[in-house]
Structures are given as C-alpha cells and as structure tokens.
C-alpha cells in the first residue's frame, strides 16, 4: 500500500530558509601571538566568568564557552550571525585587555563550522599544544567547561561539542602514544631511573647543589613514590639545610659525599663546580661494598659534576644533560609519529559531530518525525486492511482518515519546532524531539 505521494512532500515545501546556528571559534595561541601579547590577554577565572556573562547578553550569541591558558585564549560561540560576532568578540577582548585592535587583529584566528570543531578537538587532544601531547590542556579545557556550565552559558550544541572533544581527547590518549615517554629533562631522568630500578620504593636520593631543574627532579621522584631517604649536600651547609627541609631530608656536608655513595641509589647533581664532584676513584671501591646494587647518577650541571668514566663501571649509570636531551628528542620524534594516528581520530570525531549537528536542523527533524509516524500508520493500516473484506471505496476512506490523523497530530509539534518563541533556544527542543521520538540511531549517542 502506498500513501499519496504528494503528502510526503507537503511539509518540506512549507519550510523555507530556516537559519541554522553556526559554530564559530575565535582565538589566539602560542603560534599566532608572541608571549608579550599573550600575557596581556590572559583571563583569570573570575574575569572569564564575567566575560562569559557579558558575551551571552549579546542577542546574536546563543551559546558561549571560553578557555584561557598561558598559551592560548579561545572563545567558542554558537551564533546566527557569524560575521558580526567575529568582529564583536575580537573588539570586546581587545577593549577589555587594553590592547590596540590593530595589534590584536593580526594575531587572531577565526574558524567556523567544521574547522572550528576540528580546532577545538585538536586543542583538547593536545595536538595544538606547544609541547605536543602534554597532559594539562585537557584538564584546563574541562575546568573552563565546568565554569561555562556553572555560569549557564552553554546549551545543547556546545555541550555536545565539548563532550565530544573530551571523548576524542580520551581516545587519542589511550589509543596513541602521543602522551607516552617523557619530554622534559626531569621526567626523562625519572623514566630512566624506572628502567634501572624496578620500583623507586625505598630508594634513597642524594641531591648535590641546588638548582631549579635538580629540585624539580627530586620532586618528581618523590611523586613517583620514591620513598627512601633524601640527602642534600651543599657547599654552604646552611642553604643545604634549608633545601633539605623542603624535601623532609637530611643535610650533609660536601666532604661527606664519597662515603654516602654506599647508602644512596640515585644522585642528582647540579653545582657550579668547575671540576668533577664525584670521580671514578670515589665510585669504584664503593660498588663492591654496595654488593653491586645499581647506582644512578643524574648530572644536570654544566660544566659537568660527575666523571663520565663512571659510566664504564659495572652497575653504575651516568646521564648528563646532553644524554637526557638526546632521550627527549627521541621521545619527541615518536610523539610526532603518533600524532598522525591522533589526527585520524580527530577527523573521525569531526565527522561524527557534523552528522549529529546536521540532523539538528529543523527540516531534517520534521522530515524524520513525519517519516516515522507515516511508517507506523502505513504498517498498521496495511495489517488491518489485509484481514478485512471491504470495498475499494471504504479502503480509500480509511486511508484518508489515517493520513488526516497523522497530519493533525504532526501539526502542532511542527509549528512549535519551526518557531519555539523568540527567546528560546531552538536547538534544545530539536534535540529533545529527536530523543523523544528516537529519531537518531542508537550509536549517535
């Protein structure tokens, strides 16, 4: 049985030119803007909240989300007037931060539609970061999103978009090696330590001299559950004591270093000493007394503190700053290789999101709704007519009745979806309607 063909196109022809919302992303990052500009444009948490509220009041902006880190400021909006909104937001940020607009504009990039979606996904997955694959950005975007949700400036579209961004980032992290292997000196040193010692539990550390990188390495070690003692040796005993307090450690005198070698497992050195602080002669006799338990020297000083000849002693390992740098550049290379795979995951995410977004339009939703009801009516009518012995004219009358019922049922929801009211967010209702009548296949959710 077929329903009159015309009725299927009845609604489609009635809906014309319904403007859909466009996703627009405006931002600056470490590549588009120098640090002098970026530091001026940084929004604090409270500033972000204010900015979100003010931007939302703009009638052309339906939803807005903003993230600001030391490397980027990104504003994401859904709007029905993309062109106007771009200028509006750029001018707004420049004015707020007191940056001349002619200086600000060249650093700004604007993406719309799929390109905006892709950019957001790449940022969240750490593909756009200064240090490829660094893990902080995901947390920063999540935090910013939480703020936008609390401020109630996001709606159906951006909520969906951000959630998709998080799931893409998660997939990238778990399915590619983009976050694998250290790319900073102190992390690389600890990764090496974990390849020498099975676990860092009960391993003792001696910190020789002070220095930001060395202290960072000790901190990382302690966070990696390195639970042994921390000893600190410094030329000036008093500053060594201060540093030791910081790590809950024990200060020792500089002359005591050779005898301590027997008790420690990891030595991190960064002194300003022009000659070696620990030489082969110090280590050689100690190894026997240590029963050859491995001893790891991390030498961050330039000029070096640790005699490189120590590396030739069995079970003693020396890594200087260049060696660590070498490890890092290897790791960066492998991260870059992994990013190819990550881009593919991003592409897939963009495609999925586009699919959902396209369907969120009024016309496809109404068509899908109509089709669903007509299909049900058609099937039920067919079943009924099949088992009845009635005349052609009576059959025709029943068909007409069914059609009329479907049309009448559809009338009000159709009118509502086309125009839910001036201040209402159309996409919310479209999404609800699609969910209510289950118009999307399950895997879309």
């Amino acid at each position: 049985m077929n329903l009159p063909d015309g009725s299927r196109h009845f609604i489609k022809s009635q809906i014309v030119n319904i403007e859909s919302l466009e996703i627009v992303l405006i931002g600056i990052n470490h590549r588009s803007a120098p640090v002098e500009l970026r530091e001026k444009l940084n929004f604090s948490k409270t500033e972000t909240e204010q900015a979100l509220l003010i931007m939302q009041k703009e009638p052309s902006i339906h939803e807005v989300f903003m993230v600001s880190t030391c490397n980027r400021v990104e504003v994401l909006v859904s709007t029905d007037q993309p062109e106007a909104v771009k200028k509006l937001i750029a001018a707004y940020i420049a004015a707020w931060k007191n940056v001349p607009i002619e200086r600000f504009m060249p650093a700004v990039y604007v993406y719309t539609g799929d390109k905006a979606v892709r950019h957001l996904f790449r940022v969240t997955a750490s593909l756009d970061s200064m240090m490829l694959g660094e893990p902080q950005i995901l947390g920063q975007v999540k935090e910013a999103y939480r703020q936008a949700v609390d401020t109630k400036t996001t709606g159906v579209i951006l909520n969906r978009l951000l959630h998709k961004a998080f799931s893409v980032a998660k997939r990238v992290r778990s399915e590619t090696g983009i976050g694998g292997h250290a790319v900073s000196i102190s992390y690389a040193a600890i990764e090496l330590a974990k390849k020498i010692f099975d676990s860092l539990e009960n391993k003792s550390v001696l910190l020789v001299g002070a220095g930001e990188m060395a202290e960072l390495a000790v901190e990382h070690l302690m966070r990696s559950r390195c639970t042994g003692r921390v000893l600190v040796a410094n030329r000036t005993f008093s500053s060594g004591m201060k540093l030791a307090d910081q790590f809950n450690g024990t200060p020792i005198r500089f002359e005591e270093i050779p005898e301590t070698l027997e008790a420690i497992d990891i030595l991190i050195s960064s002194t300003g000493s022009p000659e070696y602080v620990v030489t082969r002669h110090h280590v050689k006799p100690v190894m026997r007394r240590r029963k050859n338990r491995p001893l790891f020297f991390i030498d961050i000083a330039v000029p070096r503190d640790i005699d490189p000849a120590i590396n030739r002693i069995a079970n003693a390992y020396v890594y200087d700053i260049d060696d660590l740098q070498g490890v890092i550049s290897e790791n960066i290379k492998s991260r870059q290789q992994e990013s190819v795979l990550a881009e593919r995951i991003v592409d897939e995410g963009v495609m999925r999101f586009r699919c959902w977004y396209k369907n969120l339009d009024v016309v496809p939703t109404i068509v899908a709704l109509r089709n669903k009801l007509y299909n049900i009516a058609e099937a039920e009518l067919y079943k009924t007519l099949h088992s009845m012995d009635i005349s052609e004219a009576e059959q025709e009358a029943l068909k007409k009745m069914t059609e009329a019922m479907v049309n009448k049922i559809l009338h009000d929801p159709t009118m509502f979806l086309k125009n839910p009211g001036t201040h209402r967010n159309k996409s919310t209702y479209l999404d609800l309607a699609r969910k209510l009548f289950r118009l999307d296949p399950e895997n879309h959710h």
Binding site: I196, K291, P294, A314, Y317, V327
Partner: protein
C-alpha cells in the same frame, strides 16, 4: 604421531610470531594471542607425551628425538607456570622461538624404536628425569633473562634508548628474575643429580662411574654453584650475573647434547640418532 607433532610445532611457531610482533608493536592483544597459542601448544604437547608414555609404558626419553621433545615441553611448561607469578611477558619472545626450534630439530632427528629396557622402569628414574628436565628448563629461562638483561643494559649504558629501553623491563627486575630462575633451576638440578646417584647405585651398584655425562653435569652444577656463591658473598649482580647465566646455559647445552656426540657413556643411548 607425525601429524600431531607438526600441529604442535605450528602452534608453537604461531605463538612465536605473535610474541615477536608483541615485542615490536607492544600491543596487548598480541600478547594475549601469543600466550593463548603457547598454552594450546603446551596442552597438545602434553597430550602427545602422555600418549607416548602409555604406548611405550615408559617415559618417552629414549632417543634424541624424544629427549629434545621432552626438553621443549619442560621449557614451555616452566615458562607458563612462571607467568602466574611474574610479569615478565617479554620473555615469551625468547621462550616460544626456542621451544619451536628445539621441536623442529627433534622433528628432523630420525626416530629409532626404543629398545625394551628395564633400566627405565624405576620410579627413581622417572623422578630423576622429570626433575632434571624441569630444572634445566628453569636454567634455560635464566639464560634468556640474562640475554634480555644484557640488551637492556647496553641500551642504557650506550645512551641509545631508541629500541630496547621502551620494550624491556627494568634492569633490577630482570636481574632478580634471572636470579630466581637460577635458584629454582639449581635446586632442581641438585635434587636431580642426587636422585641420579641413588638410581645409579641401584642399577649399577655404584654412585659414580666417571661417565662423561656425569662429569659434565657436575661441571655445570659447579658453574651455577659458583654463580650463586659469588652473588651471595661478593654481590655478583647485573652484568656479570647475566653473563654467567649465559655461560652456565652453554655448559648445560653441551652436557645435554654435546657430550653424546663427542664422548661416550651410559647416557649415550638416550640421545642416539
């Protein structure tokens, strides 16, 4: 029986290729596949050996073909057993190919019919053979772990972490695992030798008969004893312990096969062509 053997070899080889791919690609599912294949091969292998035992009414260790097959079975078994306790997955990339190779060698060694012999019917002999083989399997794994240690140590010392560093576990773990294998292997080897002596006393009326295999077994035993002693007293860890484990394994292989080709003795018939 030949077709069963081919099937088992194929399973071991499949497991080997999965283990090697796992080593290269570091994908978890490859390890599951490799381990599963190895377990399947081992079960089939056990079934084959049991059948042979029933069929001949004696332990299937009469000729070189059978002893090789039995050794391969013991190595696979010890590896599978050790996986329940240790997370040294990567050792499979050594074990599975080793087992495959031994079994392929066994396949090409012509099989002679076993001579009906009363020598092989004593319970002492069953214990002696079983314990010695399991002990030797543990020592073979110790040698493999030692080789992994040397690779990883070279990667760290040469500061060229490109390939091995990421794929192999830590030095300390490899060292302690190798040590564990040696303790287990050495203990079983000792018990195996003692049961051998007891058995010799019963059959030939004397404990020691200057049989080349006996002499070399004791030499091998002394190498491992020295390794353990030095470790406990002088702290022979790491590189030296790894090298010693490999030397010990070389001596073991010579005792196992080499002696029979170069020298003669009463163990001869078990490894005859």
């Amino acid at each position: 029986m030949m077709s069963a053997m081919i099937l088992i070899i194929l399973c071991y080889m499949l497991s080997s290729s999965c283990y090697i791919s796992f080593f290269l690609l570091q994908k978890h599912f490859l390890h599951i596949l490799a381990f599963g294949m190895l377990a399947a091969a081992f079960i089939l292998h056990t079934a084959l050996l049991s059948y042979q035992y029933m069929h001949f009414g004696q332990m299937p260790v009469h000729n070189l073909h059978q002893t090789l097959s039995f050794a391969a079975w013991a190595i696979a078994g010890v590896y599978l057993l050790m996986r329940f306790r240790l997370r040294l997955k990567i050792l499979g990339a050594y074990t599975a190919p080793l087992v495959s190779l031994i079994l392929i060698a066994a396949f090409f060694v012509p099989q002679s019919d076993p001579l009906p012999s009363t020598v092989l019917n004593s319970i002492w002999l069953v214990v002696h053979v079983l314990i010695i083989f399991v002990g030797e399997a543990a020592l073979a794994l110790a040698g493999g772990t030692g080789a992994l240690y040397l690779m990883q140590e070279h990667a760290i010392k040469s500061k060229n972490p490109r390939f091995f560093l990421k794929r192999l576990p830590s030095l300390e773990f490899l060292d302690s695992t190798g040590y564990l294998f040696i303790i287990v292997g050495f203990t079983l080897l000792t018990v195996g030798l003692v049961t051998g002596f007891v058995y010799a006393e019963k059959v030939w009326g004397r404990i020691w008969s200057w049989d080349p295999k006996e002499i070399w077994s004791v030499i091998t035993w002394l190498i491992y004893a020295a390794l353990l002693h030095e470790r406990l007293v002088a702290g022979w860890r790491g590189r030296r312990a790894a090298i010693m484990a490999i030397i010990g394994l070389a001596a073991l292989i010579f005792t196992f096969i080499g002696v029979n080709f170069l020298l003669e003795g009463h163990h001869d018939e078990f490894t005859r062509w």
